[in-house]
Subunit: 430 residues, 2 copies
């Protein structure tokens, strides 16, 4: 079950949405049994695209920012879910070291850190924010746009433990996606690290995630008797791309052509009157950099210098060599004049809320996670209790389907992290 939130949707229930709502008891039971087998990530956010005929995840973030974009009424759900997470992770915990990104000027991000710290405190934790900013030697107070101050303290290590001056935490909570690698100061420590270092973007690949998602989607689709394509975007991968040197263009072009063809076949099969497109993006990393919409295979061999530069690097200046070519899912949601896509937040195995990412300057077949994006928090709908005797007179929880698909992506991430952790252990055994 997921919170009943307002959505941008007002039309009749789509067939897929209706099927997911109808099969809720089976879905919830299946998810519970999955979480018996796989360790649930501490938290996650999932970007979804809803085309009406198709509802699919397009990105799964294991170090979610944006908690400050959640409606304040959702914070009690976050607090309760954190309690469940802490109990599972480390019932003995009192002190949490929250390790954020190294941003000091992105105050919206820091507001997210402050919100997370507050949720942890309300869940009964002692919290310090331990920063990895190179050269930071003393606590650094940063003013927040919402008022108040966030203090970033240098992480210190003693033996196999980390903390900050005068504070020895029981657990390290990462809100840093480790694009640049697993920091030496956090390696081989005795405290549990959540999510584990292996879940960092230096180690994850979107193609791995969506490969696992494919299996999860198939099993789920069999459960509720739907075509798995309705929730699963096609994709291809090219591993030896160098945009600046124009290497790997043939691989890109052939993969783009292949994915476009497969989409076209499905559109024909379902009578969908849309022009297929793909999203080409770095196979590792985040932050909406290095992403482009492609509607024809010829486009990737005809990139100009500016486009190639844009695609060549992502966060932390890392060079892109691996690329995922993902089926584009048009969004049929909009708020006022802005195209919108839902972002769903989970803590432990609970959907705790979400918001719409909106962009007035982008089309319905474009990436919205770009400069100029705005956020519209989803608040609770006026709660109502369905008539228990006769027909349901309570409007259906339209947000439910979003919560289900987001949790499938979270489950795929759980399996993915398990595989990455196993791979990390393997060399030690060899």
């Amino acid at each position: 079950m997921v919170p009943r939130l307002t959505t941008a949707l007002t039309g009749p229930l789509q067939e897929l949405e209706r099927r997911i709502l109808d099969r809720m008891p089976d879905i919830e039971r299946w998810l519970r049994t999955q979480w018996q087998e796989h360790a649930v990530p501490f938290y996650a956010s999932v970007d979804l695209r809803n085309a009406g005929f198709k509802l699919a995840p397009v990105d799964t973030n294991l170090f979610p920012g944006g908690f400050n974009n959640l409606d304040a009424s959702l914070l009690p759900l976050c607090v309760q879910a954190v309690q469940a997470a802490v109990e599972r992770l480390c019932p003995d915990a009192r002190g949490v070291l929250l390790v954020p990104e190294n941003h000091t000027r992105n105050t919206f991000y820091l507001q997210n850190v402050a919100t997370l710290a507050s949720v942890l405190r309300q869940a009964g934790m002692r919290v310090h924010v331990g920063s990895l900013i190179p050269g930071l030697e003393a606590p650094l107070p940063v003013e927040l746009p919402g008022g108040g101050t966030l203090v970033l303290e240098p992480v210190v290590r003693g033996g196999r433990r980390v903390g900050v001056e005068g504070f020895d935490p029981c657990v390290v909570l990462l809100n840093n996606d480790l694009s640049a690698g697993a920091p030496a100061i956090l390696r081989d420590i005795d405290q549990p690290v959540a999510p584990p270092l292996e879940a960092g973007w230096y180690n994850r690949k979107k193609s791995h995630h969506f490969g696992v998602f494919r299996s999860v989607a198939r099993e789920f689709a069999a459960l509720i008797e739907i075509d798995p394509w309705l929730i699963d975007p096609y994709f291809g991968v090219c591993n030896e791309v160098n945009f600046q040197e124009r290497a790997g263009e043939e691989c890109l072009a052939s993969n783009v052509a292949m994915v476009l063809e497969r989409i076209a076949a499905q559109y024909a099969r379902y009578g969908i009157d849309e022009k297929p497109f793909v999203i080409v993006k770095a196979d590792a990393g985040t932050y909406g950099m290095g992403i482009m919409t492609v509607r024809d295979a010829g486009e990737v061999t005809a990139l100009n210098r500016k486009q190639r530069n844009k695609m060549a690097v992502v966060k932390e200046g890392l060079e892109v060599t691996s690329v995922i070519i993902q089926e584009g899912v048009p969004t049929y949601e909009s708020i006022d004049a802005a195209i919108a896509e839902p972002v769903v937040y989970m803590i432990d195995r609970f959907v705790v809320g979400g918001f719409y990412r909106m962009h007035t300057g982008r089309g319905r077949d474009e990436n919205l996670n770009a400069p100029g994006a705005q956020f519209s928090p989803l608040a609770f709908e006026t709660p109502c209790i369905p008539d228990l005797g006769g027909p349901v007179d309570c409007p259906p929880n339209r947000f439910y389907a979003y919560g289900v698909v987001a949790r499938l992506a979270q489950l795929a991430a759980a399996i993915e992290i398990g595989e990455l952790a196993e791979r990390a252990r393997a060399p030690a055994l060899a």
Copy 2:
């Protein structure tokens, strides 16, 4: 952690409240470790009395009614907590048989059942309401005051399973306090029953509960370095009382005198200017029947016929033979002109909300759970995030102390149920 709710309290933080808030991380950690050792009851409600100098539970209900008195904004927390409870109890569950009290005319109670059923459905369960009403042979629809209909279906048994016609549940959830005994139809079934049959009032005794609570309170008091009396009411017990035959009056009088003396000694020690009183009530059962306030030992030997009749029987016409003499805790809370006491609700190990029980016709040293009581739901306070750098500019969560003391009572109930279940198994081994 507990929801941040509005309370009737406006004055400065009392010393006890302040201590509990200050020690939050230690308290939450201690509670987590307790729940590693003891199985948490599915749900519970606890009646508290707050005297300012003292904050204590006076009744712990393992089959809580009154979910309809919770503010609608709290239902998402209930749903999330039910999911945690179901995962713990029976991850395989899809179908829940909810077994309520046999009331058909108390529509407020039935509204509670409808609310519970809705919460379970929103948590992804299939729910039928299975009634034990004698002679019920077909589904009985009952109109609810809030609109809608609740259908009570006769419980049917086949072999070692129970359900209703056409519905075989995975788990039986009791909302019937079993004052009249464990129903034969629910005994020795294969499905899990929550709370277990042994937790019924035919089997529980308040003196047992408060005896266990004493140990819990001592351990907790040592943790936060307070006098355990500040959260624990004194009590005595008389087991061979017959109000109609005036048997056991000496035991009653001497216990009343003993408890009054012990209270007076503490009032003197703390300089509290209050007149001690005790509450005399049946040692088993609920519903506010058979309860009286006593300020002098002489009162219990001078009861008139009407008073004796009132004390002699409780719910289901059961005769009272065992009586608990409990320290009275005056309430210093009021809403408008009504004396008020908080009732705190827990599902699984989470505080999900509460309300004030109020009575304009009762004094601050009287039982408020009586005809004429009204309910004031506690809603969320405007959420705010404390300044993380300097002094906390967010008002403290005054409801927190209530949630802590209520959870101590819930923990005592968990230990108590464990002992009752062990006792129930013992004869089978002999």
